[in-house]
C-alpha cells in the first residue's frame, strides 16, 4: 500500500515511518508540509492508496490539504486519516466535512495505528480486486444495466453538502463518542421500491436518482448541522450534530415537498413516482462505543419499518426532466 504521510514535526514523521515499516508498509512518502504533499501528489503518476495528515501545520493545515486532495479525481475515494492532537469537536467536524475518512488522536497508540492501517489495507485490496463495487463511477459503463452489486454499493456522494462516505460517518461517530454525543440524533431515510423501480434501468439512471434524493435531503437539512451518507439502494442515514429538536413527520413533509419541486423523471420521460420516508430519530447521548457503531443500522431499520407501512407508498405526478446530478 502506497502511503503519503504529512506532518510538520519531523519527530512524528520518523515515529510514523518506524511504526509503519515494522508492519510491512514500506512504500512511504513523508512530507513536512502540505505544499510538499501536493507536489508529491502531482508528481506521482500512480496515486497514493492512503493519506495520513496532521491538522495543525503552518501555511496550509491538514484540513485544507484534505479538501485540496479530494479535488483530484483519482483521490475521490482514497482513505484520508487525520492523525492529530486537535481533539476539539469543531476540528473533527471540519476534518470530516473536508473529506477525512478517519481520525486518530495524538498521542497515538502504536497498536491503534496498526489496526486502522490494516483495515484500510483490507479496503484498498478489496477495492482493487472487486472494481465492480468501487464507488468511483469510472469502473463500469454508465449505460450498463444496474446489478444487485450496484444496489448494494454505498455511493460516495461527497460532492453534495453534508454527505460523506458511510464508513467515514461510522468513524466520525466513533471519534466523537470518545467525547460527547449529547444531543446528537441519527435517522434513516428510505425511498421505498427503489430496487424494483430501477431493476431494468441503466447504472447512470439509478445513480442519478440516488444523487437526486441525496440532494433533496441536503436541501431539506440546509438549516441544520449534520452529516449524511448513502447506505446502499434507496437508503440514506443522517446524523444531526446541532443538538436541536427534530420532528421526523415535519421533516418528511418538507423532504417530500423538495422532491416534488425537483420534478423527477426517468430518462424516457416517465415521471418518477417515488417518495422518501423518514424513520424516527435515535438519540445518541447514552450510546456506548459499540452502540454508536450500531446506531446507523438502528436508524435505517426504523426507516425501513416506516417504509413497509402502506402509508409510505406515495406518488408524485408532475412532469419535467430527470435531474442528472450524478458526476457533479
Amino acid at each position: 500500500m502506497k502511503i503519503l504521510a504529512v506532518d510538520d514535526d519531523p519527530i512524528i514523521l520518523e515515529l510514523l515511518e518506524n511504526v509503519l515499516r515494522v508492519v510491512g508498509f514500506t512504500n512511504l512518502t513523508m512530507c513536512e508540509s502540505a505544499h510538499q504533499a501536493l507536489e508529491a501528489v502531482e508528481q506521482n503518476s500512480v496515486p497514493f492508496d492512503c493519506c495520513l495528515f496532521d491538522i495543525q501545520m503552518p501555511e496550509m493545515d491538514g484540513i485544507q490539504l484534505a479538501s485540496a486532495i479530494r479535488k483530484f479525481p483519482q483521490y475521490a475515494a482514497t482513505p484520508i486519516v487525520m492523525i492529530t492532537a486537535m481533539s476539539d469537536r469543531s476540528y473533527i467536524d471540519k476534518a470530516f466535512i473536508a473529506g477525512a475518512s478517519d481520525y486518530i488522536t495524538k498521542p497515538f497508540e502504536i497498536g491503534e495505528v496498526h489496526a486502522r492501517l490494516r483495515q484500510i489495507q483490507d479496503r484498498v485490496e478489496e477495492r482493487k480486486q472487486n472494481t465492480d463495487r468501487n464507488p468511483i463511477p469510472v469502473t463500469r459503463h454508465a449505460t450498463a444495466t444496474v446489478t444487485q452489486a450496484d444496489f448494494d454499493t454505498r455511493i460516495a456522494l461527497s460532492g453534495i453538502d453534508g454527505f460523506i462516505e458511510y464508513l467515514a460517518l461510522e468513524n466520525y461517530l466513533l471519534q466523537v463518542s470518545r467525547m460527547s454525543l449529547f444531543g446528537m440524533r441519527a435517522f434513516g431515510v428510505v425511498v421505498p421500491d427503489m430496487e424494483r423501480t430501477f431493476q431494468t434501468s441503466s447504472l447512470y439512471e439509478y445513480q442519478a436518482a440516488v444523487s437526486d434524493f441525496a440532494e433533496a435531503i441536503s436541501d431539506s437539512l440546509k438549516s441544520r448541522s449534520y452529516f449524511a451518507a448513502h447506505a446502499g439502494n434507496g437508503e440514506f442515514v443522517c446524523v444531526l450534530t446541532d443538538g436541536e429538536a427534530f420532528d421526523e413527520a415535519d421533516f418528511e413533509s418538507q423532504l417530500c415537498d423538495t422532491v416534488r419541486e425537483m420534478d423527477l423523471h426517468f430518462c424516457d420521460g416517465r415521471p418518477m413516482t417515488l417518495m422518501p420516508v423518514v424513520g424516527r430519530p435515535i438519540s445518541m447521548h447514552l450510546k456506548s462505543a459499540r452502540g454508536t457503531a450500531n446506531v446507523l443500522t438502528q436508524a435505517l431499520a426504523a426507516a425501513e419499518e416506516v417504509a413497509s407501512m402502506p402509508r409510505a407508498r406515495k406518488v408524485i405526478s408532475s412532469a419535467g426532466p430527470l435531474r442528472m446530478l450524478f458526476g457533479h
Binding site: 514535526d9 519527530i11 508492519v23 476539539d88 498521542p107 502504536i110
Partner: protein
C-alpha cells in the same frame, strides 16, 4: 500481505526516535525559556504565546507514545490553555514551568 509484527523492530525504531526526541528536548527547553521571558514584554507576548502553544502542541503529540506520558499530559494542558485563552496567568506559567522541568528530565534520562 502478512500482518505479523516484530515488536523488537518497533523497539529498535522507538529507541532511535526517543534519542532524537531527547536531543530536540534541549532545543525546545531553551526556546521555551526565551519565550517565557518574552511574555513580560507586552509587544512580544502575543507571538511568544503562540509559539509556546505550537511547541507544546508538538510535545503533546509525541511524548506519551515515546514513553513520557507526564510530559505529554503537561504539554497538552498548556496547549489547551493557550487554545482557550490568550491571557497569561500564573496557572499557565506554572504549567509551562512544569513542562520545562520535564523536558530536562527527558535529557537526563537518555
Amino acid at each position: 500481505m502478512s500482518y505479523s509484527t516484530n515488536y523488537s523492530d518497533i523497539s529498535d525504531g522507538l529507541t532511535r526516535v526517543r534519542a532524537r526526541f531527547a536531543e530536540e528536548s534541549q532545543i525546545r527547553q531553551d526556546r521555551l525559556l526565551i519565550l517565557v521571558s518574552q511574555l513580560q514584554d507586552a509587544s512580544a507576548a502575543p507571538a511568544a504565546l503562540v509559539e509556546i502553544g505550537e511547541i507544546n502542541h508538538k510535545i503533546a503529540g509525541t511524548a506519551a507514545t515515546l514513553g513520557y506520558p507526564d510530559l505529554g499530559a503537561g504539554a497538552a494542558e498548556v496547549d489547551e490553555m493557550i487554545h482557550q485563552s490568550t491571557l497569561v496567568n500564573p496557572e499557565l506559567l506554572i504549567k509551562i514551568d512544569n513542562v520545562i522541568s520535564k523536558l530536562e528530565d527527558v535529557q537526563t534520562s537518555k
